[in-house]
């Protein structure tokens, strides 16, 4: 598999570290229901068949964390962007 790093260009997936679902957002630890929300954040993951947003880090390249849109049924890489500047701010 190859991933189009926005900085380095197309690179082999072996250069990347995989973390998983990019759609989950870290909850507010000060919220009243923080324990329940953190439980979901840490353990619960959707497993969609089809396009999915995933976190990959270009470990062997520019070291940036990317949100990679990948079709889980075909491994087609649809898009990749830096997570910096798009994620939640907490």
């Amino acid at each position: 598999m190859r991933i189009p790093c926005p900085y380095c260009g197309w690179r082999d997936a072996q250069e990347f570290a995989y973390l998983g679902d990019a759609t989950v957002e870290r909850p507010d630890p000060a919220a009243a229901d923080a324990p329940a929300r953190f439980h979901d954040y840490v353990y619960l993951r959707e497993n969609p068949a089809g396009p999915h947003s995933e976190l990959w880090r270009h470990s062997a390249g520019c070291r940036q964390w990317l949100a990679v849109r990948r079709d889980t049924t075909t491994h087609e890489i649809i898009a990749a962007e830096f997570v910096r500047g798009r994620g939640a701010r907490r």
Binding site: D12, A34, P35, R57, H75, R84, R89
Partner: protein
């Protein structure tokens, strides 16, 4: 001799000698082992996998199911090599396999008589019970009797490589379609790679008597290859099999660089594994001829018709004296005509069809060939084929032949098109599967796409090559395809002679018969994937290239379904076997993975260090001295010397992360459980990091070097992981924070100096003007300095050993000089270099946690750091660490252990049970994580995780180690064995 006097694409000026089963034989350059064996009239080549039936050569290519040999000798002996793909070289040694004592007389041929018992599912049904008998009796017996060749037991002496290539268009297969595709793409300006598994490019152009653009097919192929090779935008790979299609246009290919030589050229690899990244690909892999299933269809002398044609035309080798042909299609007729024209004796052309194109029948009659239309071969006889029986309307007739060329039609080689989940589609008019949805970017051309005629192949190649290039923006009007004729190619689906006698093989390599398919059907294993697994059809090293379609056609007929409804099994890489060594490439032995030396490696070597791998790092384990009997004696001496006076160790391997920016303090507060924003400049603090799930991830010290400048250390093992985690926090969670991370692990050599005399030794290497007094640089202080006359350095007063300690960091190139200077300065104090063993002993004596305790299942509370956790801030892992189960006081927590008798040895991994309780899982209360012989106390000590451990000091337990037979009564104590108040640290 079966070698024809003239013709063929062999080089008769270069005779080669080789041996088969010890017999010296001769061939020519340009031969394969199979063609040379045929030229030497060797028909019996091996014994079959299960029934030990005599087998010969069936095909002329990589689909070969029968002619598997052991190639080479000694360390280079390689089993299960297809004789049909082995390029002959001088001195080649080959041997038949799976026979004992000899190929001609094989005792295990008894299995053939037992074949009624050994059918599909036999092992599943017979050897299910008792389980122990399977392991001890059945499996060893079966392994001896059934099998393949013997691998060499010596290390592989050859080198292997991996390499990467990039192109616009990859063309797989250099037959008529592939050559035209490559030429069309290349002429349009695309970067092209053309790969073919053969050593001679041209495919069927070299095997059939045909004309292209007015010249012989083989000459046309040679010219086309020469043109391609001359173009700067084309790379031509012969002897290279593209074996797999992977995601994103990645193709795996194996180049056999040195397999056609007795041994690889000096400094060249034997094989090279290519990862080819291609924007487009054209699959032009041709088609494979299928056998027809009838009794005795596996006998040596029975051969695919196209293979006969290949041996005849390309290798000038006649496979038999009297040859009959048995077919359901026109192609085999041309083989028969070729044989007759070459002066061979064609006993008959037997065709299951009653009507065949008059052009073929007339030509056959003109050449005097007997024609049996509507005929079927029902049986064969002879160890090597002697005769066949043919049934026609007129009855059964026996024909004396020593060769039978069979053709059940053609299966396009669409395997690679199916590697990406693509399912093939059945086409009735050619009685074959053709590619369905192909992997993205892959086009299929020629016979691989079910276009069997020569003119069609050439035209399709031009079209697909131009199309691939055009997709990428290389526009050029393609040239008209070369002139050639489309041969007659009519075929009538026919799989199996119903009225035949004797074992009728579908899968030759795995000895799967038509009857096995019937059994599978009768017992309900009717889905193709079930058929495959129940009968092992198509599961041999040939992956059923010649057998899959026939097998599922027979199943379809039994089940009363169409072949299209029955479907095909899944194609997976590799197309042909690939040696694991090729996947490893350079990364073998010492190069399995990189070895990282510390900056003081050469110094440690001169000190006589014994080294140990810790992750990728090579670190000094201990420094034996003359007269020391074992490692324990050396380690004990190193610990004593350090605790009594002074010692030093290279600590450069700890991860070092430089943090700069306005918000570093706030950031560290969020990633550590304790507070760092309040750390004064010039101070160091120990910190614990949790994972988001609340368990400890890592520990280490972080120093504040300036208002907005910190330096973090991580454990050696977690350096990369922590850096990644911190980047995640900054880029994903808190991008608003101004923190810049830089790994400086490689930049700094860091030496830990420890012991009561550490300050005196350090003073000798530090430049004048640096105050080392306890007030100026107290415990957990940090400062910059210069050493050895102007070398910039950082001093950290930290200690893992529990003694007065400093870590001195200098730019890595000065690491060795610093070690030497410290040794020189410490000579009067009997300074001792120590290794990671002594380091570990001292940290256990001090109760410091390390890898065995930071095992991913322990919380900060478990390890005694509950009070370190700040309640005034949010940090990673805090919420989840607060879960009730993680706060349960009954959780195993850190404690110290000593043997009650003060003599017994402790073992890490031992489990704790109450005294008097049996060593059983239900009584398990925790385990010993780390042990050491404590030189300071004179007995073994241990750290462990024990239920409520910290509350049970003074109690006694059993420490059971059933694996190594240990059962020691231990006393629970504080995990800090030496200097519990830390007085030595602060002097």
């Amino acid at each position: 001799m079966s070698r024809l006097r003239q013709g063929g694409l062999i080089d008769r000026s270069r005779p080669l000698s080789f041996s088969f089963d010890g017999r010296s034989l001769a061939g020519f350059a340009g031969d394969t082992l199979a063609s040379a064996l045929i030229a030497n009239d060797v028909a019996l080549v091996g014994r079959s996998f299960k029934y030990h039936r005599p087998r010969g050569i069936f095909s002329a290519g990589s689909e070969e199911p029968n002619a598997l040999v052991e190639l080479g000798a000694g360390a280079r002996r390689e089993p299960n090599t297809r004789a049909t793909t082995v390029e002959l070289y001088d001195g080649l040694i080959a041997a038949s396999q799976n026979r004992w004592p000899s190929l001609a007389f094989d005792l295990f041929a008894i299995n053939a008589l037992l074949s009624p018992l050994l059918g599909a599912g036999f092992y599943y049904k017979t050897f299910m019970w008792p389980a122990k008998a399977w392991e001890k009796i059945y499996e060893p017996a079966i392994r001896r009797a059934a099998g393949l060749g013997r691998a060499s037991l010596e290390p592989d002496p050859d080198a292997y490589e991996k390499a990467h290539a990039f192109c616009d268009v990859l063309v797989i297969g250099a037959g008529p379609a592939g050559l035209m595709a490559a030429r069309a793409s290349a002429r349009a300006g695309a970067r092209v790679i053309l790969a073919d598994e053969d050593f001679l490019l041209g495919g069927r152009l070299n095997a059939e008597r045909c004309e292209v653009d007015g010249e012989a097919g083989s000459a046309f192929a040679a010219n086309a290859v020469a043109e391609l090779a001359s173009l700067p935008n084309v790379r031509v790979f012969s002897r290279t099999t593209v074996f797999g299609v992977y995601d994103s246009g990645i193709y795996g290919a194996l180049e056999r660089v040195g397999d056609h030589l007795a041994e690889p050229l000096a400094y060249a690899p034997r094989q090279r594994l290519w990862r080819i990244v291609a924007k487009r690909a054209v699959l032009a892999a041709g088609a494979t001829e299928r056998p027809i299933v009838f009794g005795g269809n596996d006998r040596p002398g029975v051969m695919a018709a196209q293979a006969v044609q290949t041996y005849l035309n390309r290798f000038a080798a006649m496979p038999a004296r009297q040859i009959a042909l048995f077919a359901n299609n026109d192609s085999a007729w041309r083989v028969g005509l070729d044989i007759a024209r070459a002066g061979g004796e064609v006993a008959a052309i037997i065709d299951i069809r009653r009507a065949v194109a008059p052009t073929l029948t007339e030509e056959a009659r003109r050449l005097g060939v007997r024609i049996l239309l509507g005929g079927q071969v029902v049986s064969t006889s002879g160890k090597r084929l002697r005769s066949i029986k043919v049934a026609t309307e007129k009855g059964v007739e026996r024909l004396s032949v020593d060769g039978l060329a069979i053709s059940g039609g053609f299966s396009p080689n669409l395997h690679l098109a199916g590697h990406h989940g693509g399912r093939p589609a059945w086409k009735d008019d050619i009685a074959a599967f053709v590619p369905g949805r192909a992997p993205p970017g892959l086009l299929v051309a020629g016979a691989a796409a079910g276009r069997f005629g020569l003119a069609a192949c050439l035209a399709d190649g031009v079209e697909k090559g131009a199309m691939a290039a055009r997709d990428l923006g290389f526009h050029r009007k393609p040239d008209a395809p070369p002139r050639a004729e489309d041969e007659a190619a009519a075929v009538e689906p026919f799989w199996r002679v119903g009225a035949s006698r004797g074992a009728a093989f579908v899968d030759f390599q795995n000895d799967v018969t038509a009857k096995d398919v019937q059994i599978a059907h009768a017992e309900g294993f009717r889905a193709v994937e079930h058929l495959k697994r129940y009968t092992t059809l198509g599961m041999a090293t040939d992956q059923g290239k010649t057998s899959n379609v026939t097998g599922l056609a027979i199943m379809a007929a039994l089940a009363g379904r169409s072949i299209a409804e029955t479907g095909a099994t899944t194609f997976r890489p590799p197309y042909t076997p690939v040696a694991i060594a090729a996947f490893a490439g350079h990364h073998r032995g010492k190069d399995f993975r990189p070895t990282r030396p510390t900056p003081t490696h050469a110094w440690a070597e001169r000190q006589g260090a014994v080294f140990v791998e810790t992750g990728l790092w090579l670190r000094a384990q201990y420094f034996p001295r003359a007269g020391e009997r074992d490692w324990l004696e050396s380690v004990t001496r190193e610990v004593k010397a350090t605790r009594a006076s002074v010692g030093l160790i290279d600590a450069s391997t700890f991860g070092k992360i430089d943090l700069q920016g306005r918000d570093v303090g706030a950031f560290l507060d969020r990633v550590y459980i304790n507070t760092f924003s309040t750390l004064p400049i010039g101070k160091v603090r120990y910190g614990i990091m949790l994972r988001e799930d609340g368990f400890v991830m890592d520990d280490g010290t972080t120093a504040r070097l300036g208002e907005t400048h910190y330096l973090m250390t991580t454990t050696t093992a977690n350096a990369a992981k922590i850096y990644q985690h911190l980047e995640f926090c900054l880029q994903k969670l808190w991008p608003e924070l101004d923190v810049k991370l830089t790994s400086v692990t490689e930049q700094w050599a860091q030496i830990a100096l420890a012991g009561p005399n550490a300050r005196r030794v350090l003073r000798a290497v530090i430049d004048a003007g640096v105050d080392l007094s306890n007030d100026a640089l107290p415990y957990m202080g940090a400062r910059e300095a210069t050493v050895m006359g102007g070398v910039k350095a950082r001093l950290f007063r930290v200690s893992f050993s529990g003694e007065l300690g400093y870590e001195i960091a200098v730019p890595a190139r000065h690491g060795e000089a610093l070690a030497n200077a410290l040794m020189e300065a410490g000579r009067g104090y009997d300074i001792a270099p120590y290794g990671v063993e002594a380091l570990s002993v001292m940290r256990i004596e001090k109760g410091h946690v390390s890898g065995p305790e930071l095992n991913g299942q322990t919380t900060a509370r478990d390890l005694g750091f509950g009070r370190l956790a700040s309640a005034k801030k949010h940090y990673i892992g805090r919420v989840m660490a607060d879960r009730p189960a993680l706060r349960d006081p009954a959780r195993p927590s850190l404690a110290g252990f000593k043997p009650v008798d003060r003599v017994s040895r402790l073992r890490a991994g031992a489990h704790f049970t109450a005294l008097g309780k049996p060593a059983a899982i239900e009584h398990d209360e925790g385990h010993m994580t780390s042990v050491a012989f404590s030189p300071s106390l004179g007995h073994w000590i241990g750290l462990g995780l024990l239920a409520r451990g910290s509350e049970r000091i003074g109690e006694r337990m059993r420490a059971c180690d059933p694996v190594r037979g240990g059962d020691v009564e231990v006393e629970i104590c504080s995990p800090v064995f030496v200097d519990p108040d830390g007085e030595r640290l602060r002097v």
